[in-house]
């Protein structure tokens, strides 16, 4: 290659081109002169010369092609031409760019989220070797939480793991204020001292826990999250080694974790050593499945080997404790990443698929717009070909037009994606790993690839129509506009059918999610939820060590709150319906024969004050609520739910029977109450209610939820109620001040988010598809103006014409609908996990979607069809 020369040809393009003209002209002149000498006429000499030489323009282009740089130049010229020809139809260009941008923005944003959350490894050291460890209880609980005693055996006996750590799922601490600060409830995690080492994380400041910190006799220590340290302690390093008060006890701050670190949940604010915090008995129990454990595999060990080893250990424990049905039978493991993102994987992938469909629809629409433009330029292309334009040259020009569109759309789309991601992150604050979401080079590269793909796809689809074009028929056809471009129309109709099909799939998905969401929102929790205000508080054990202190506090609180003007009723419970599972306990019925070995009976446990059922409107079906004397050491009454009676007392009256349960004590059944749900999305479960004021297990319960019901706007009672708590104990923080409706709303907010987003995509797709239908039919209408004019002139009824045109437009919509319904049947299987109370093949959703689509399609077709039927035949024929 001769680079200097090449560069010269590049920069002297215009001059070179002129010189080549001269060269060719000289040659032609010589030929003509020779022919003249041979005695030809002037005209003949010229024609013969051209015949011998060939098409000068083509020769010139082919010669220029050898220059090497000409391609670059040509592309630049094509781009210029493309931009210019798009500039002539700015409305078309803007619509196309906007549609492209929407599709690219949505897809890029979702992909960024999916990649950051699901695909990228956890930010821990060698994350692929980290496993979440579970006990395998039975088929009903294959991934059960681990008990402290089981974990201790795992740690002692296993050899495949280099490290094993245990932590509590969720703990809340009352963080006392210093120097006028208000007290505050913070989310914390109790963890074994080696949790950070197992994950491979170092504190940003200070030190990690040591084994010495992590035992009952040690001084209390705490590690703070970066966020809590900045917010509450002003980011002062002097806090290290200082004492803070948690639950009215003194803890020494020993370390601050890095800003990015949030484990096991997004809202974790501090960590305490678990063996110091939890009673030793609890950490040795084999049947109290309250903790989470993780392990780091040794480099040479596989997950299966690790799991098998743990399972053998549990199995042995099971054999040794056959009398206790709550000791598990085996072990399960799951990669830590799967565990962290398990719940959000399906919705995210579903949304990604939806955006993909949407992008495809956008491309199809732009392609179909380009095909329509093509039609108006057929004559131009035919003439250019007749004049010797190379076909590839024209095709290239064609592609660049869609490139210009896609690149503009892509740039706008990327900017939009940035905004969308910011919004998404703020809308899904609680989603795990939400902080990891960011646009990086990889995403930008992906977006660029997407743009390229869109450009080639739309360009080729529309370019297909000029390939193999016959010049002469095309010119002839263009001169008389009857039944023109049948092939092109057919192509557009196929594109439309596809578009409609994808739209139907999206609509079905959105419809199912919406219906499921509605189902969730209308689920009856089993109690009154209107105008009920709730708030959390927990009494620090250090300040309320005696049961009487706790009982006095609760009674004083309830008495004062009930006296507030506007309060209808108030109650205190461990958890109100809809707040969560909250733990269960096995039980035996004293009057029944003993259960066969290995069998068990389970009930969800609730602690309530005697006024609970009346306050929340939970019906007492039989018997009565607790006696007033059920307090402190006198605890022998239990109230059971209808579901428990149904399951364990079939055909029996449970009143007066006895349950042998927590603390291995006997409780007499005094009442049966209506069922309530622990979460809106869960089935009703058997439930046992114990009196709040009794001390069984580890004393009178220290915390729970205060619920206040009013017949007016209950939010106005929030401040007076909090003031009463402040008066009772200024050190006591409250948290989660929410109405019952808000609690239900929170637990369904993800469902509503997913449903709304999918619906938005579906509606946008529907609009695009309708616009596509409208466009195609309008085009067909203008193409057939003459034909229809003749028909009408010859006496065709206007209704007939209307029906003809409508049928023409609705047929592709119908084909699309059938495609879409079939796709929906296949596609909704993917979102089965997201549906509550709705089957994936819900007939009503499918029917509604079909009706909506047909209505929209008819509306889109009606206008062009009406226009065609109102043609003035004279006008139409004169248009020729």
């Amino acid at each position: 290659m001769n680079w200097p020369r090449r560069l010269r040809t590049l920069f002297r393009g215009r001059e070179n081109s002129r010189r080549l003209d001269d060269e060719i002209q000289f040659h032609l002149q010589q030929l003509i002169a020779e022919n003249l000498t041979a005695g030809m006429s002037h005209e003949e000499a010229r024609r013969t010369a051209l015949q011998a030489f060939g098409n000068p323009t083509l020769v010139k282009e082919e010669t220029q092609d050898t220059w090497g740089w000409i391609r670059v130049e040509q592309i630049a010229r094509d781009l210029r031409n493309g931009a210019r020809s798009l500039g002539r139809t700015p409305r078309f260009a803007l619509v196309a760019i906007f549609v492209m941008a929407l599709g690219i923005a949505a897809t890029t944003a979702l992909l960024t989220v999916v990649r950051s959350v699901i695909l990228e490894p956890l930010p821990f050291k060698e994350p692929s070797r980290l496993l979440h460890l579970y006990e395998y209880f039975d088929e009903g609980f294959p991934y059960n939480a681990s008990a402290g005693g089981v974990f201790a055996e795992w740690k002692k006996q296993s050899s495949r793991f280099s490290d094993l750590a245990i932590y509590s799922y969720r703990t809340e601490y009352n963080l006392s204020g210093t120097g006028g600060q208000l007290p505050e409830k913070v989310r914390g995690t109790e963890c074994s001292w080696n949790l950070f080492a197992t994950l491979g994380v170092e504190p940003a400041l200070g030190r990690k826990f040591t084994a010495e910190d992590d035992q009952p006799s040690a001084n209390a220590t705490v590690v703070l999250s970066w966020g809590l340290w900045k917010r509450r302690f002003g980011g002062e390093t002097s806090i290290l080694g200082q004492a803070i008060r948690l639950d009215a006890k003194t803890y020494t701050v020993i370390g601050i974790m890095p800003a990015w670190f949030a484990y096991p949940e997004q809202s974790a604010q501090l960590w305490t050593p678990i063996y110091h915090e939890e009673p030793a008995l609890e950490m040795q129990a084999l049947d109290s499945h309250d903790f989470a454990s993780i392990g780091r595999l040794k480099p040479e060990a596989s997950e299966a080997e690790g799991r098998a080893e743990l399972a053998v250990i549990v199995k042995r424990l099971h054999e040794e404790h056959r009398d206790n049905p709550f000791v598990s039978k085996g072990a399960q493991t799951r990669p830590l990443l799967d565990d962290v993102v398990g719940d959000i994987k399906t919705p995210l992938l579903m949304l990604l698929a939806a955006t993909g469909c949407f992008l495809l629809i956008a491309c199809l629409n732009v392609a179909s717009l380009l095909v329509a433009r093509e039609a108006t330029r057929r004559k131009e292309f035919a003439i250019r070909m007749a004049l010797g334009g190379g076909r590839w040259r024209l095709l290239g020009e064609h592609l660049t037009e869609s490139f210009v569109l896609s690149i503009a759309g892509g740039a706008a789309g990327l900017a939009m994606a940035y905004v969308v991601i910011q919004w998404f992150v703020s809308a899904r604050r609680e989603m795990s790993r939400v902080d990891a979401i960011h646009i990086d080079g990889w995403v930008v590269a992906f977006a660029a690839g997407l743009v390229l793909l869109c450009a080639v796809f739309t360009g080729m689809t529309s370019a297909l129509s000029i390939k193999g074009e016959q010049i002469l028929p095309s010119l002839q056809e263009a001169s008389r506009s009857h039944s023109a471009g049948q092939a092109r129309v057919r192509l557009r109709k196929w594109l439309l059918s596809l578009e409609v099909g994808l739209t139907v799939v999206l609509l079905i998905g959105a419809g199912l999610l919406l219906k499921s969401y509605k189902q969730l929102r209308t689920t009856n929790l089993g109690c009154i939820t209107d105008n009920v205000l709730t708030m959390h508080l927990s009494l620090p054990e250090a300040a309320y060590s005696k049961g009487t202190q706790r009982v006095n506090f609760y009674e004083a609180l309830l008495e004062r709150v009930r006296a507030l003007p506007g309060v209808q009723s108030a109650t205190f419970t461990r958890m109100v319906p809809g707040e969560g599972y909250g733990g269960d306990s096995g039980f035996a019925i004293a009057e029944h024969p003993p259960l066969p070995e290995g069998q068990y009976q389970l009930g969800v446990v609730r602690w309530v004050d005697p006024g609970y059922f009346a306050a929340l409107g939970i019906p007492i079906l039989r018997g009565q609520t607790f006696d007033a004397d059920q307090r402190l050491d006198k605890a022998d009454e239990v109230i059971v739910s209808e579901a428990l009676v149904r399951q364990y007392f079939p055909g029996e009256d449970p009143i007066g029977k006895h349950l042998l349960t927590i603390g291995r004590r006997l409780f007499k059944v005094v009442g049966v109450v209506g069922d309530t749900r622990v979460l809106v999305a869960r089935d009703v479960r058997p439930m046992m209610y114990f009196p709040l004021y009794v001390s069984i297990y580890d004393g009178v319960p220290t915390g729970g939820t205060l619920a206040v019901r009013s017949n007016r706007d209950v939010n106005r009672l929030a401040l007076p109620t909090q003031r009463i708590i402040q008066q009772l104990d200024p050190e006591l923080p409250v948290s989660h001040v929410l109405t019952m409706d808000q609690i239900v709303g929170q637990s369904t907010s993800d469902a509503s988010f997913d449903a709304t987003l999918l619906l938005a995509f579906a509606v946008l797709s529907l609009v695009l598809a309708a616009a596509g239908l409208f466009g195609v039919l309008s085009y067909v209408g203008t193409q057939r103006t003459t034909e229809l004019g003749v028909r009408i002139a010859l006496g065709a009824q206007r209704n007939e014409v209307l029906r003809l045109m409508l049928w023409d437009g609705l047929r592709p919509a119908g084909v699309g609908l059938v495609l879409g319904l079939a796709g929906g049947v296949a596609g909704t299987r993917m979102i089965r996990d997201l549906l509550h109370g709705v089957r994936p093949l819900d007939t009503s959703v499918f029917v509604v979607v079909a009706i909506v689509l047909l209505l929209v399609a008819s509306a889109a077709c009606l206008l062009p069809a009406l226009r065609a039927s109102r043609l003035d035949p004279m006008q139409a024929l004169r248009n020729e």
């Binding site: 090449r6 001269d22 000289f26 040659h27 098409n55 010669t63 092609d65 050898t66 220059w67």
Partner: protein, 109 residues
């Protein structure tokens, strides 16, 4: 999109190089010369000459200069470069070997 050509691909390059090896010539003269020397057997399609000329120029085997032609008009005269002369020798040698081989086959069988 190929042009019909009576010449074996690649031989046009050889003919051009050979034709201008004695003295610089412009495109038309090159076409004429090839026809003349070959006794009108080789018909160069005149249009296809120019892409070839420009390709050879891009490769650096021939160079061009605008000078006055015999008729007094300015024309583009092509001449061989040193690299072009070496290329001509290589191509001529190749051609000789190839034609000799074809002759052998044609005559013995």
């Amino acid at each position: 999109m190929g042009k019909p050509s009576d010449l074996v691909q690649g031989t046009l390059d050889l003919l051009i190089l050979k034709t201008i090896s004695l003295e610089p010539k412009h495109g038309w003269a090159i076409a004429k010369r090839i026809q003349q020397i070959s006794g009108e057997v080789l018909q160069v399609q005149q249009g296809s000459l120019y892409p070839a000329l420009h390709r050879l120029e891009q490769r650096g085997w021939i160079k061009a200069k605008w000078t006055e032609s015999e008729t007094g008009r300015k024309a583009k005269f092509y001449s061989l470069t040193a690299a072009g002369r070496a290329q001509l020798e290589r191509e001529a040698e190749n051609w000789n070997r190839l034609s000799a081989a074809i002759n052998l086959v044609v005559e013995t069988s």
